[in-house]
């Protein structure tokens, strides 16, 4: 158990834990949340068990509003289906919920995220003769097209944040302001938020470019610049990410990811 954490004590939790907790804070109670597996599912489960008990999770393989007890390892994991309000089809979720415009917040991930919030999960290198072939879109392109807010949780490494993606699997602001509208997308100015172990960045709807809005405790802007392939702007109200509450940490460690499969632990645990 961790008690009375303060800024100076942040050695007692890991920034990977705070990354999840900060991401979970972006989910509002009642939100319809389009979620896959891995860290997004961890953050969603945490939000559900803490401040957002009425969030409605939708999972692309078919479950609508399941009650997630233990973090599933796959969208086809039975753990992602329990006590759903509806077990349906991919068309129902990606078509009749997501493309229909009912998703408040969707998670995506990828190997590359560029300055405009575009995401690559398809290839490193050339499409026709790739250096590394990645899984591909899955539902990510659909989420990036249709969710009003996008949330990306990712470990902060420079190669993940190039100026320009090798391949745009999932559209952010494409090549800049107005590009989404010109392309024909329905959500014109999505809020794209990246939560890493260093920083929280959010796209500016006017420029389409990332701005740093929050820094993780103990992290300064130079650390961000040094680990990012583009130069993000800085919000006028730059804040520090609030430390985790006892409840957040406990819930994460003891209920959401009890075996520590997903999240590195702080020292005090």
């Amino acid at each position: 158990m961790t008690v009375g954490l303060t800024r100076s004590e942040h050695g007692s939790y890991d920034l990977d834990e705070l990354m999840i907790i900060e991401a979970a804070r972006h989910i509002r109670n009642g939100d319809v949340v389009m979620v896959g597996t891995g860290l997004p599912m961890v953050a969603t489960t945490l939000a559900m068990k803490t401040h957002a008990p009425e969030l409605v999770a939708v999972i692309e393989s078919g479950p609508i509003d399941p009650i997630i007890m233990q973090t599933p390892i796959s969208v086809s994991d039975p753990r992602a289906m329990h006590e759903a309000a509806r077990l349906g089809s991919l068309r129902e979720v990606l078509g009749c919920v997501l493309q229909r415009g009912l998703v408040d917040i969707g998670f995506i991930g990828g190997a590359q995220i560029d300055q405009f919030g575009n995401i690559n999960s398809t290839v490193i290198g050339d499409y026709r003769s790739p250096k590394v072939r990645l899984p591909g879109s899955g539902g990510a392109n659909d989420i990036a097209c249709h969710a009003r807010r996008l949330l990306i949780i990712v470990s902060h490494e420079k190669r993940r944040f190039p100026l320009k993606c090798d391949y745009v699997t999932s559209p952010g602001y494409l090549n800049g302001p107005g590009a989404r509208q010109r392309a024909g997308l329905k959500v014109l100015t999505p809020t794209i938020t990246v939560v890493t172990n260093l920083v929280v960045m959010e796209t500016d709807a006017e420029t389409g470019l990332f701005c740093v809005t929050k820094l993780m405790p103990g992290v300064d802007l130079d650390a961000v610049y040094g680990n990012t392939g583009f130069r993000p702007g800085v919000a006028s109200t730059l804040e520090e990410v609030a430390p985790p509450s006892d409840r957040d940490l406990e819930t994460l460690r003891e209920e959401v990811d009890p075996d520590g499969v997903y999240v590195k632990r702080g020292k005090s645990h």
Binding site: S61, E83, P135, G138, P171, G184
Partner: protein, 305 residues
């Protein structure tokens, strides 16, 4: 009809094969093994998430092309045979999103030549295409909102789809439990569908509760009773995925070459039937563990059996 006859009759060299299941759930592995044993080649594999069923067919050198939304086994890693052969150019992959793929099956099941979508716009999925694709998509203007672009994707009607389900009667009235992914659309779009199932139930049971039927018999060409037919992937309410065997397969697939060959020799070619394979992966004892793991998950949530 047995699986051997069903595959012999409905899967042919060069066929477009629709793959059911997703990731680690309800992949039609028994049918995949039989296709490999029969050496049906030059296949085009289609689905949303293409997973271990695809990877095994690619590993057996039977695949020319894939069309799908993704190739991976999520936490268990990439579909390594596929990744290697896409990288080397030995097979081609035509990329869509998952909604894009299910939209194509939706057009197929509705007897339509194409389906609109508002996904994909602005992305490189519309910029690049596989070498043998003639026309991947069309963009038109929305007639009710001039200036607005809409993507049209071509219908996809597989020659044969293979799915593994919980229950079917002998006519082919199918009940899928849990998520159904893209299967309802894909199956209704297909010329033929081979179903393996955990249980054959009485038609009386189907007809006493017809709202429960996921797919009526008119879409199904062959039903084969094949318990554990999705192993090592899971079948909701029946058994959990076999993490151990999945990891073992992934090691072989990642290593490639001789190790993939050895896997196939041992588990597929070396097995007369899927029953033989099940013995090799641990037999009754192992399978009951997986069954128990699933029952535990379901029981803890007070679910119906």
């Amino acid at each position: 009809m047995g699986l051997r006859e069903a595959v012999g009759r409905f899967v042919f060299d060069g066929a477009v094969v629709g793959l059911g299941g997703q990731n680690i759930g309800r992949c039609a592995m028994a049918t995949v093994h039989e296709i490999i044993r029969q050496g049906k080649r030059d296949l085009t594999l289609v689905g949303c998430n293409l997973s271990i069923s695809m990877d095994l067919l690619v590993g057996a050198d039977l695949v020319r092309r894939c069309e799908g939304g993704s190739g991976n086994l999520e936490r268990f890693g990439s579909t390594f045979c596929w990744r290697r052969k896409v990288q080397s150019g030995e097979i081609e992959m035509e990329d869509f999103s998952h909604l894009g793929m299910v939209s194509r099956f939706l057009a197929g099941e509705m007897g339509l030549p194409f389906m609109p979508t508002k996904s994909l716009l602005g992305s490189d999925i519309l910029v690049h295409k596989a070498p043998s694709t003639v026309k991947k998509y069309e963009i038109i203007e929305n007639p009710w909102n001039p200036g607005e672009a809409v993507v049209l994707l071509p219908a996809l009607n597989p020659d044969v789809s293979i799915i593994h389900v919980q229950k079917s009667d002998s006519m082919g009235n199918v009940i899928i439990g849990g998520f159904t992914t893209h299967e309802p659309e894909m199956v209704r779009a297909s010329r033929n569908t081979i179903v393996t199932c955990e249980e054959i139930i009485e038609s009386r049971q189907i007809r006493s509760d017809p709202e429960r039927t996921t797919l009526p018999h008119i879409y199904i060409s062959a039903v084969v009773h094949q318990p554990w037919g999705a192993h090592p992937t899971s079948t909701y309410r029946y058994y959990d995925f076999d993490a151990e065997h999945l990891r073992f397969y992934q090691e072989c697939a990642r290593a490639g070459g001789e190790q993939v060959k050895a896997y196939l020799d041992r588990f597929v070619f070396g097995s007369e039937s899927f029953q033989d394979y099940l013995e090799k992966v641990g037999g009754k004892e192992r399978l009951l563990q997986l069954e128990k793991a699933m029952k535990r998950l379901c029981a803890s949530k007070g679910e119906n059996p």
